[in-house]
């Protein structure tokens, strides 16, 4: 049976939800083009260089995919938590703790081959989950705001990682860890490490869990109305805690994959920097849809790797790319908010009635 028609009003609203991010990306690119033109360069050539540099051939594509990979994890981490009404801003800390645990397990225990690989990934998952469990417990027992606690724990994770690479597994006293031995690096497939495949599969799995299982159903219900969820017999506190744990585990796995998959295969200053908040931005632009998050993460990857090529070809700083990325976020969030404005709603409704009238007369 075909899905029954929903009201015209709702159909329009849903179409707008999809359109907003697309229009935002276009607008952001236009703004970027204006800035490039103001700098006296040719924006068309710049954007061509960007595409060339990110998707031009297989090696560039795989670089882009590897760049997007950790963002998929932090993006999905944010998506899962927000679906349950948990504002986990600690994706970065959870990713870093995951990577630290992976490094400690592999460098500490030694070992090679598939068992060591699996153990490394598992260590990342567990550490990420535990790092998110902390603010989760603080929230459900003491009511502490997770936005604050997760951000603060990001710094704790950052300095913990510094301790690891400076003091515990330091490479001959330099501020970086020893590189992981070749036997415990993620295998490559067509130039990109298999972490990319893990990320894509995870995106599909998260979508499935959220939209097609009873557990995901309850997670969504709690996110949208915790009071009604409680009255209707859902274990709200347990579900919230699980949302923390799963979201942290996703980020932690991302940390393990990033460490084991990407050169230089070691922890050093700057590892994971910015991934957390990029993940939050991705989740918002993707409107909390896990599959859309995959695409948005890819877009972010294209902007990053392509930006470097744009810099070298037309000579504009990569900061342009940061501006474009920022613009996408601003336009999307502003667009989402303005859809809810009553005046705009009325306008959309009047368009709709005109088009239905047109259909009727046709």
């Amino acid at each position: 049976m075909a899905k029954e028609a929903i009201s015209a009003q709702e159909r329009r609203e849903r179409a707008l939800m999809v359109l907003t991010p697309l229009v935002s990306v276009l607008l952001a690119l236009v703004v970027g083009a204006v800035i490039i033109a103001c700098l006296g360069k040719d924006p068309i050539e710049g954007y061509r260089a960007m595409l060339q540099g990110s998707l031009g051939d297989l090696s560039k594509l795989s670089k882009t995919l590897e760049r997007a990979c950790p963002l998929v994890f932090t993006g999905l981490c944010a998506v899962f938590a927000y679906k349950c009404g948990v504002f986990n801003l600690g994706g970065e800390g959870q990713l870093i703790m995951g990577a630290c645990a992976t490094a400690a397990t592999i460098l500490g225990l030694g070992g090679e081959g598939v068992p060591a690989l699996a153990l490394g990934l598992l260590a990342g998952i567990v550490a990420g989950a535990l790092w998110a469990l902390l603010p989760g417990i603080l929230k459900i027992t003491r009511g502490l705001n997770e936005m604050i606690t997760t951000i603060m724990l990001n710094y704790v994770a950052l300095y913990f990682m510094e301790h690891i690479f400076k003091n515990v597994f330091s490479d001959q006293g330099l501020p970086k860890t020893v590189a992981l031995p070749a036997g415990v690096r993620l295998p490559k497939l067509l130039g990109a490490h298999v972490g990319v495949i893990i990320a894509v599969v995870l995106g599909l799995v998260v979508w499935y869990v959220i939209f097609r299982t009873s557990f995901g159903f309850k997670i969504r219900a709690v996110g949208m109305n915790p009071v009604a969820s409680r009255v209707n017999g859902f274990p709200v506190r347990r579900l919230v805690l699980l949302a923390f744990i799963i979201s942290g585990a996703i980020a932690g796995l991302g940390g393990a994959v990033e460490l084991m998959g990407k050169t230089p295969f070691r922890l050093a200053a700057g590892f994971g920097a910015g991934f957390g908040f990029d993940g939050v931005a991705i989740a918002l632009i993707a409107q909390l849809n896990p599959i859309a998050a995959l695409l948005v993460a890819l877009l972010f990857g294209i902007l990053s790797t392509g930006g470097i090529m744009m810099q070298s070809v037309i000579g504009v700083p990569t900061a342009i790319v940061d501006i474009i990325r920022g613009m996408i976020i601003i336009f999307t969030v502003a667009g989402m908010a303005s859809i809810k404005l009553p005046q705009l709603r009325a306008l959309i409704a009047s368009w709709g009635s005109k088009s239905t009238e047109a259909e009727a007369s046709a």
């Binding site: 029954e4 028609a5 929903i6 009201s7 159903f217 219900a221 969820s229 009255v231 017999g233």
Partner: protein, 497 residues
């Protein structure tokens, strides 16, 4: 206020209401919840515009287009929930937003003198330098009153000011009210606590279902007369058959207490049995423990003392909505949007809310939801319960109130509960939806379900109940038969006698 009406959509919150307040009097606005008191006052202070009618101040017609205009005309309101900034001092809260000095700098010294003079004159004791968060509730209220006086109000609206106060603080408030009226100020006092109304008011205007019933001087009236006016005495013979021989109890409360020190919200040693095949109606003026009772019998809170006994005669140990639902509870909660539905989920999703792990709607205990089965189920319930929506994939929040309530009812009755708790099940609904919901509740009773009906609508309680208990200040005042109920006695009990 003359002939004032306010319409929301097709619903009249106020219809042709007339209210006149004399200088220097305490005029009480009396009515049940939903009688239209708040709407009327919101019109007076400029938050709503009347659909019809006019407002006259000292004989001159005025157009109160905004709260600012109301202040300029000397009308000030003290809301039930205080609107103070906790981290500021009393004085700062009082002078906040006042523009009399027309200077960018605060004139704190001058304002302090003004406020102190007002304090002196009306006997309002306020610690001006204490932060609001450190003040007692009574003093916070005095800050609110002072705010209004400072802005030069001659007519003060006090919205249920005694709801949050202790007896001693109520006495203090009444003293202040007396000194205010002594100086020629007028007060509109909103309350449904009969005793206080009798003590403080000069005249009373009774509202019922948005209309003025009567304006009477308190001198010469009795509590009984006022209660009769408020709840209405037209008893129409119920169209439903009344059951007199109920079956065994589905749930028994034995001397259950929950925050008994709170007069308007707690429960004090309540004992009652909810029997199968019977509708037990709880009558009472809102705010006498109904909410606590509903939370107790649905597992949301645990009693502080006393016990609940299940159908098997065993004491209930585990208080959680889950456990109660598993034991066969159907619940039509007080606030359908907040407690009953997840508004941002679809109608279909709301209809299977509790059953997503069942074999019917999923494979492997919830590992794979059968989307088609969920949609078919929703369409069937939509058909059976006449839920009007364009599609079951519509978001629940986009339905009208009546249809939302039908969604909840369909979901709760579908599992054939052994105990149905219905709290204000028809509040705000039109006649058609109300009739439908009443029919469904009675049908459940006939099928052997135990029904606990809690409602502030006295007519509804009379119409449906096979047995009636009255709650007053957290205690049960009496139990009455549902067939040929002794209305006089019941309304006396509701007033606390």
């Amino acid at each position: 206020m003359e002939g004032v009406s306010k319409r929301f959509g097709s619903f009249y919150a106020n219809r042709n209401v007339t209210l006149s307040v004399e200088e220097g009097e305490v005029h009480t606005l009396l009515g049940e919840n939903g009688a239209g008191k708040s709407t009327l006052m919101n019109i007076l202070v400029g938050l709503y515009q009347p659909t019809e009618g006019r407002i006259l101040i000292r004989g001159e017609e005025v157009d109160i287009s905004s709260p600012g205009v109301a202040v300029a005309h000397g009308i000030g309101m003290v809301h039930q929930h205080f609107m103070l900034i906790e981290n500021m001092t009393g004085l700062e809260n009082i002078i906040l937003g006042d523009r009399r000095h027309r200077t960018p700098l605060l004139q704190e010294a001058a304002d302090r003198a003004t406020v102190e003079e007002l304090m002196e004159r009306y006997g309002l004791e306020i610690d001006l330098d204490a932060r609001v968060s450190d003040m007692s509730i009574g003093m916070q209220q005095r800050v609110e009153i002072m705010k209004v006086l400072f802005r030069g109000a001659d007519l003060l609206v006090l919205d249920e000011p005694t709801a949050v106060l202790t007896d001693l603080e109520v006495q203090g408030l009444f003293d202040i009210m007396r000194s205010l009226t002594g100086e020629g100020k007028s007060i509109i006092f909103i309350s449904h606590k009969m005793r206080e109304v009798m003590r403080i008011s000069d005249r009373v205007t009774v509202l019922r279902r948005g209309e003025t019933v009567a304006t009477v001087p308190v001198a010469g009236a009795t509590e009984q007369e006022l209660a009769d006016l408020m709840i209405g005495q037209k008893f129409t013979e119920s169209t439903y058959r009344k059951v007199e021989d109920a079956h065994e109890p589905a749930l028994t409360l034995c001397e259950v207490s929950w925050h008994p020190e709170v007069k308007h919200g707690g429960l004090k040693e309540v004992s009652l049995a909810i029997n199968r095949g019977e509708i037990l109606g709880v009558a009472g003026i809102d705010g006498n423990g109904q909410a606590a009772l509903a939370e107790l019998v649905t597992g949301l809170v645990r009693p502080e003392s006393g016990e609940l006994v299940g159908p098997d005669g065993a004491q209930i140990a585990l208080f959680s909505p889950e456990a109660f639902i598993d034991a066969g509870l159907g619940n039509i909660p007080e606030d359908r949007n907040k407690m009953g539905l997840v508004g941002d989920m679809t109608v279909a999703e709301n209809l299977v809310l509790k059953q997503t792990r069942s074999e019917r709607f999923s494979r492997g205990h919830g590992a794979w939801l059968k989307m088609n089965a969920i949609e078919r189920h929703a369409n069937r319930l939509r058909e059976e319960n006449d839920i009007r929506c364009t599609s079951v994939n519509q978001l629940a929040r986009s339905l009208s109130g009546g249809n939302q309530q039908k969604v909840i009812l369909a979901r709760e009755l579908e599992g054939h509960p052994s105990l149905l708790v219905a709290v204000y099940p028809t509040r705000g609904l039109d006649i058609g939806a109300t009739e439908f919901i009443h029919d469904q509740i009675v049908a459940q009773r006939d099928a052997g379900c135990a029904v606990l009906l809690i409602s502030a609508d006295f007519d509804e309680v009379l119409k449906l109940s096979d047995r009636i208990v009255v709650l007053f200040e957290g205690q049960i005042m009496g139990t009455y038969p549902g067939a040929n109920p002794p209305i006089k006695e019941i309304s006396l009990a509701m007033a606390g006698k």
